[in-house]
Amino acid sequence: MGLLHRLSPAALRILALLAVLAVVILFFSMQIEGYLNGRLFNRISSSVAIMALIATGQTLVILTRNIDLSVGSIVGFSAFATGSLISNNPDLNPLLLLLYSAAVGAGFGMINGALVAYARVPSIIVTLASMALFRSALVEYSNAKSITTETLPAWLTDFPNMPVLSIGTLEVRAGFAASLFVVILVHLCLTRLRPARALFAVGSNPEAADMAGIDAKRVVFAAFALSGLMAGLAGFMFLARFGNITVVAGLGFELKSVASSVVGGVNIFGGSGSVIGAFLGAILVDLLETSLVRWAVVSEFWREAVLGALILLAVTTDTLLSRRLTKLRAKKSKEAAK
C-alpha cells in the first residue's frame, strides 16, 4: 500500500500543482539573479492575499456550473464604500468595518444570485451585465473623489504588512495570514459540512441533486452571495493594502480569479475542485506574473502573451500529471488486489 493509494484524486491534484510550482520557482531561480529569497515570499504572499479571497468565492460559484464576472467591480465598490465609511467615522470599531465590507459584497452577490437562481438567466450574462452596472454604480457613488491613505486610520493601513512570524527576511504578514485562515475555513466547511457538499452535488449532477431533495436554486443563490461576500472582504484587504482607491480599483480581477480557479484544478463545468487548489492557482499565477516582470528575456509587450501561454502550459501539465498519478494509483491498487 503506497502513499499514492492512500491519497484521494483531489490530494493528487494538489500534489501535482505543488510540483508545477516547484518547477517554476526552480526555473526562475536559475534565470534571475537573487531570485530565491525571503523577499520573494513576502511579495507573493502579500499580493496573493487579496486574490486568494476572490478566487475562493469564484470557486464556490464555478462548482455550481456558474461563473461570476462581477467580482472585480464588487471588490472596487466595497473598497471604496469601506474607505469612505472609515474616513467619515475614524473611530469606528474595526470589526464593524469588516462586517460592513462583507455586507456590501454579499448584497451585490445576492442580486446576482437572485437573477441566476430564481430568474433563470445564465450566469455569464447576468454577471457580465452586473460587472458593468456595479462599476457604473461606483462611478456614480464616488462622485469623482478618490479615497487616499491620509484619510484612513493607521491601524487599517498597517494591518496587512504587520509581521506575524518572521524567519530572516521571510515574513508571514497579517494580511496573508488572515486570508489563509479564511481559505482553510472555507475548505474545512466544503469537505466536512453537509450543506456545503450540496454545492458539489448541484454542480456535478443537478437532476440527481434535485432527486436527493437538494434545493438547487437556494444553493446557487448561496454560492453567489458567498462569492460577493468574499469579494467584499477582498475589497477591505484592497483598501488596507493600497490605500488609494479610485473607480478603477479591482478592474480585471474577474478574469484573474477565473484563471486562478482553473489553474488550481477547479473544473469549469462544475462539480469538482477545491479552494486549496484555487489558492495554489492564485499563487502560481501571481508567481508567474511577478517573475516575468523580472525576467529580462521577455519584453513588456510580450509579457501578457507569455503569461497566457504559461498558464495554459501549467494547466496542461497539471492535468496530465494528475491523470498520470491517478492511473498509477489505479494500477497499484489493482496489483494490491491481486
Partner: protein, 346 residues
C-alpha cells in the same frame, strides 16, 4: 543672391503677419453654443477638476447653451469615447473638448463631428496623428516635461545612479511623449551622463498593478535609486510600496503627482520632489478656446492670439511634437517639495 533677398522678404512678411495677429482677440460672451467636455473616463479627481475650470469659464462667458460633462466608464474607455464623440457630432454641438484615450482610433468619429460643424479641441492628451482635431490645449510643453523630469532625477540622485520609469498604459500618447522627451533630455546634456535609465514598465493606471510593478523593479535592479512615474496613480502607488517595504532610504520616487495624494510621502522623504500643473486652469483655458472656435471668434489659425479671461493671453502655434498639428501652450509647471506641498494639499 536673388533667392536670398526673396527669402529675406518672405521672412519679413511672416514677421509682419505675426505682428498683425499680435493684437489679442477679446472673446465676446453671451453667445449660445452647446459644449461637451469628454474626459478619458469618469471618476478621477483631475478630470473633475478640469470640469470645475470649464464650468467656471462657462458661467463667466454667460453661454446660455449647455456644457455637458460626459465620459465613458473606466472599463469601456476607448469604445465609450468613440461613441460619445459620434453622438455629440450628430447632436450638432458647437464644440467637443476631448482628453483622448483612444489613440488614432478616435479620428474617424472626430472628423465626422467636424463635418457636422463641431469644433474638436483636445486637452491633456491629444490625437497622436493630429487628424480630426482643431487645436490641442497642452498643459505644458511636452519637451519641457522631459527636462523637468530629468532635472528632478538629477537632484534626487545627486547626479549619479539608476532610475526606472513606471508609466500608465503602454499606449497612452501623453505619457509616451513625455518619456521620449525625458530620454532626449537625458541624452542631450552631459550633466546627466551618470544617470542610467534601466527600464520602462507600465502599471495601467491601476493602484494594484502599479504597486506590484514598483516592487518588481526594486527586485529586478537591486541598486535602483529612483522610480520616475509620470502619472498620478503610478507615483502614489510606487511611494506607498516603497514606504510599506521600508525602502524609502534606498529608492526614491518622483514624477507627476497630486499634492493632496503625495503630501505624506514628500514629508517623510519617500518622494522628495514631484511636479504637476493645475487641472482647473487647463479646463478653463480649454473651454475658452473651444468657445472662441465654436462661436467663430477664433479661426484656429497659427499665430492667432486671444485673451482667456483671468489667465491672460494665449496664442495658437504649430505643435513641435506633432507635425501639422496646432497647439496652445498653457504652462507652467509647479514643482512640489517639502516646502510647498503642505500648502498645496489643502
Amino acid at each position: 543672391m536673388k533667392h536670398l533677398i526673396m527669402g529675406a522678404a518672405a521672412a519679413l512678411m511672416l514677421t509682419t503677419a505675426n505682428f498683425a495677429y499680435a493684437e489679442a482677440i477679446k472673446l465676446e460672451g453671451g453667445k449660445a453654443t452647446n459644449m461637451v467636455l469628454l474626459p478619458k473616463f469618469l471618476g478621477i479627481l483631475v478630470f473633475d477638476q478640469a470640469n470645475e475650470g470649464a464650468q467656471e469659464a462657462h458661467k463667466e462667458l454667460a453661454n446660455s447653451g449647455e456644457l455637458q460633462f460626459v465620459g465613458p466608464t473606466p472599463e469601456n474607455s476607448v469604445a465609450g469615447q468613440i461613441e460619445i464623440m459620434t453622438t455629440s457630432g450628430t447632436q450638432g454641438v458647437g464644440a467637443i473638448m476631448l482628453s483622448n484615450n483612444a489613440g488614432d482610433q478616435i479620428t474617424p468619429s472626430a472628423e465626422a463631428a467636424q463635418k457636422a460643424g463641431a469644433k474638436v479641441v483636445t486637452w491633456d492628451s491629444p490625437i497622436p496623428g493630429g487628424k480630426g482635431e482643431d487645436v490641442f490645449v497642452a498643459q505644458v510643453d511636452f519637451g519641457s516635461i522631459g527636462v523637468v523630469m530629468a532635472d528632478m532625477a538629477h537632484s534626487i540622485l545627486g547626479g549619479k545612479g539608476k532610475m526606472a520609469v513606471l508609466s500608465a498604459s503602454a499606449d497612452a500618447s501623453n505619457q509616451n511623449a513625455w518619456i521620449d522627451a525625458m530620454k532626449a533630455a537625458l541624452a542631450a546634456d552631459p550633466k546627466y551622463a551618470d544617470i542610467e535609465l534601466v527600464d520602462v514598465v507600465y502599471g495601467d493606471d491601476q493602484a494594484e498593478v502599479s504597486y506590484n510593478r514598483a516592487l518588481a523593479l526594486v527586485d529586478k535592479y537591486p541598486d535602483l535609486g529612483l522610480i520616475m512615474s509620470p502619472t498620478t496613480v503610478g507615483i502614489q502607488a510606487s511611494a506607498k510600496a516603497m514606504q510599506d517595504e521600508g525602502l524609502c532610504d534606498k529608492v526614491k520616487v518622483s514624477g507627476l503627482g497630486l499634492p493632496s495624494e503625495m503630501v505624506s510621502y514628500t514629508m517623510n522623504g519617500c518622494a522628495p520632489e514631484f511636479a504637476l500643473w493645475d487641472f482647473r486652469d487647463l479646463g478653463y483655458l480649454t473651454y475658452m478656446t473651444a468657445y472662441g472656435l465654436a462661436t467663430g471668434q477664433l479661426k484656429g489659425e497659427i499665430g492667432e492670439t486671444f485673451t482667456a479671461g483671468r489667465m491672460g493671453d494665449y496664442s495658437i502655434e504649430a505643435d513641435p511634437g506633432r507635425e501639422g498639428a496646432k497647439r496652445i501652450l498653457m504652462g507652467p509647471f509647479t514643482i512640489y517639495n517639502k516646502d510647498n506641498v503642505e500648502a498645496a494639499a489643502k
